[in-house]
């Protein structure tokens, strides 16, 4: 039987800033179209992993392969939705401008957007119910609308792999629902998704696979395999509360370590 390359493969990766290492011994493979929740305590290295996956942070050791090829061999198949804090909301760009940026990788850096680009942008805006806000500066939107702008941009990018950093933190129910619906649609289109979240319930109910991190890979598999007591204890340590009926509760308010460099 011919071996199809995994969409995303991480081999013996060590990732960090300068000489400081945040994540070590990372080994995992993500198959076509899988929905993967990335969970772990604050400062466990979730954002760091994402930065390495988009090529923003060079690997200290190891390899990241996409479709069996080294990171960078494919120009535009990874879309990334940044954390809200990472965006300069006062930058003079409109909703439409931001979504159009998702087309730049494919339409070329020096040419004007084609008719097709404009149609894709219009459809992406419509899908995220942003058509009426297209001409608004992004700074004038509500938090939920702002997140939908970046979701629309990710759709316009037509990626094979979508990375989202904490899309469910600090957003209203409408945005959360819109995000989850979008994940379902993208899943139907075989887009591979890696999404970091604090919400373990959501990770267990809406995702195929869970990647549990705490400076290394604690566990990776189906939610049922990963959310075992010993794994959670390893990942969350003393911020894991075991209730009398056996339920597990993660007290995630206070980072167990100094926190992660941004």
């Amino acid at each position: 039987m011919p071996h199809t390359p995994h969409r995303l493969e991480v081999r013996n990766a060590r990732i960090g800033y300068g000489s400081k290492t945040i994540l070590t011994d990372l080994n995992f493979q993500i198959p076509h179209g899988a929905r993967v929740a990335v969970v772990g305590p604050n400062g466990a290295g979730k954002s760091t992993l994402f930065k390495a996956l988009v090529g923003l942070l060079p690997l200290q050791a190891g390899q990241i392969l996409i479709h069996g090829e080294a990171l960078g061999a494919h120009q535009d198949c990874v879309a990334y939705i940044p954390q809200r804090e990472a965006v300069d909301w006062r930058f003079p760009v409109t909703v439409q401008d931001v979504v159009m940026m998702g087309r730049y990788g494919q339409s070329g850096w020096l040419s004007r957007p084609s008719k097709q680009d404009r149609e894709i942008v219009a459809r992406s805006l419509q899908q995220m119910e942003l058509t009426n806000l297209a001409a608004q500066p992004i700074g004038q939107l509500s938090g939920g609308q702002q997140q939908r702008v970046f979701l629309a941009r990710a759709i316009a990018q037509q990626p094979h792999i979508l990375l989202m950093d904490e899309p469910f933190t600090g957003v209203d129910v409408t945005t959360q629902t819109a995000t989850l619906n979008l994940l379902d649609q993208l899943h139907d289109r075989q887009v591979t998704m890696l999404i970091s979240t604090h919400d373990l319930n959501l990770a267990a109910s809406r995702f195929d696979l869970v990647l549990l991190l705490n400076h290394r890979l604690i566990a990776y598999g189906t939610p049922k395999q990963v959310f075992a007591r010993e794994h959670l204890l390893q990942a969350f340590g003393r911020s894991l509360l075991v209730m009398e009926d056996g339920a597990l509760l993660v007290d995630d308010c206070c980072p167990p370590d100094a926190g992660e460099a941004q």
Partner: protein, 271 residues
């Protein structure tokens, strides 16, 4: 109308006005990136850092703009070199190189005999001394810089607004940064004769900051900024002619006036 036309009967005023408008537009357009990327300190540093180049060119009777250009590019690339590995923070590297280059420049100039006059021209500009050849050089370099900004509009926009998207789209971040630094350096050099070393930073920051208050998109921000830069240059030069004050100061103060108007307008609107 006579008061408008009278200064233009002098050929040096015509050249001065044209040079000021070109520089006003150029600084204003580059200034949008200076404001949006938080490079105001860098622009100021760059302006002072070109002094030694000017001094050396003067000593050897070479072209002052060429000397300034070489110095600016060297300083721009050195800042990148010192701060790239993260051993030295970028603003620290800028601070060190800026002060060192300024000191070197003043040391060189003070060794010359006629330094008092020339130093003030370099520091505050001498717009009425623009020769026809200077004007061609200013116009040519400005056209080149503006053309580059136009060609790289999309990469610069993405790299400034969303470095992470730029990384996922495999934009060469380092290359774009260096290109931006070189463009900024050349802009400072071109501005040398009209507003001088010490006031270039104002022309880079003030019109763009005013445009930032009113514009909602990058391209209109550039246009508004350019219009304000040109207008400040024209009004400033007339003020300088009739009030007999240094042209660089008059231009910068006019630009500052526009900024205050824009600021008050924004405040009044949000009330």
């Amino acid at each position: 109308m006579n008061w408008l036309l009278e200064p233009l009967t002098y050929e040096f005023m015509q050249r001065g006005l044209l040079a000021s408008v070109i520089v006003g537009v150029l600084c204003a357009v580059m200034g949008t990136y200076v404001v949006l990327r938080g490079m105001a300190f860098l622009g100021d540093a760059m302006a002072h850092a070109i002094l030694p180049g000017v001094a050396v060119a003067y000593l050897f009777g070479g072209n002052l703009l060429l000397g300034a250009g070489v110095a600016a590019v060297i300083v721009a690339l050195s800042i990148g070199f010192f701060s790239r590995q993260g051993d030295v923070k970028e603003d620290t590297a800028i601070g060190i190189l800026f002060a060192a280059a300024l000191a070197l420049g003043i040391a060189l100039i003070s060794a010359m005999q006629t330094y008092a006059v020339d130093l003030s021209h370099i520091l505050f500009g001498n717009v009425l001394g623009v020769s026809a050849a200077d004007l061609w050089l200013i116009g040519g370099l400005s056209a080149l810089i503006l053309l580059t900004v136009a060609i790289f509009y999309k990469p610069f926009l993405v790299a400034s607004f969303d470095p992470i998207l730029a990384a996922t789209l495999r934009l060469p971040a380092e290359l774009l940064r260096n290109l931006m630094l070189i463009l900024l350096a050349l802009t400072v050099v071109v501005s040398l004769q009209t507003v001088g070393v010490s006031l270039v930073a104002a022309m880079l920051v003030t019109p763009a900051a005013t445009a930032y208050l009113v514009a909602r998109r990058l391209f209109p921000m550039m246009l508004i900024s350019a219009a304000l830069g040109a207008l400040s240059s024209i009004i400033g030069l007339y003020l300088s002619y009739y009030l007999n004050i240094v042209s660089g100061s008059a231009i910068v103060l006019t630009a500052t006036g526009f900024f205050l108007l824009g600021f008050l307008w924004k405040r009044a609107k949000s009330l």
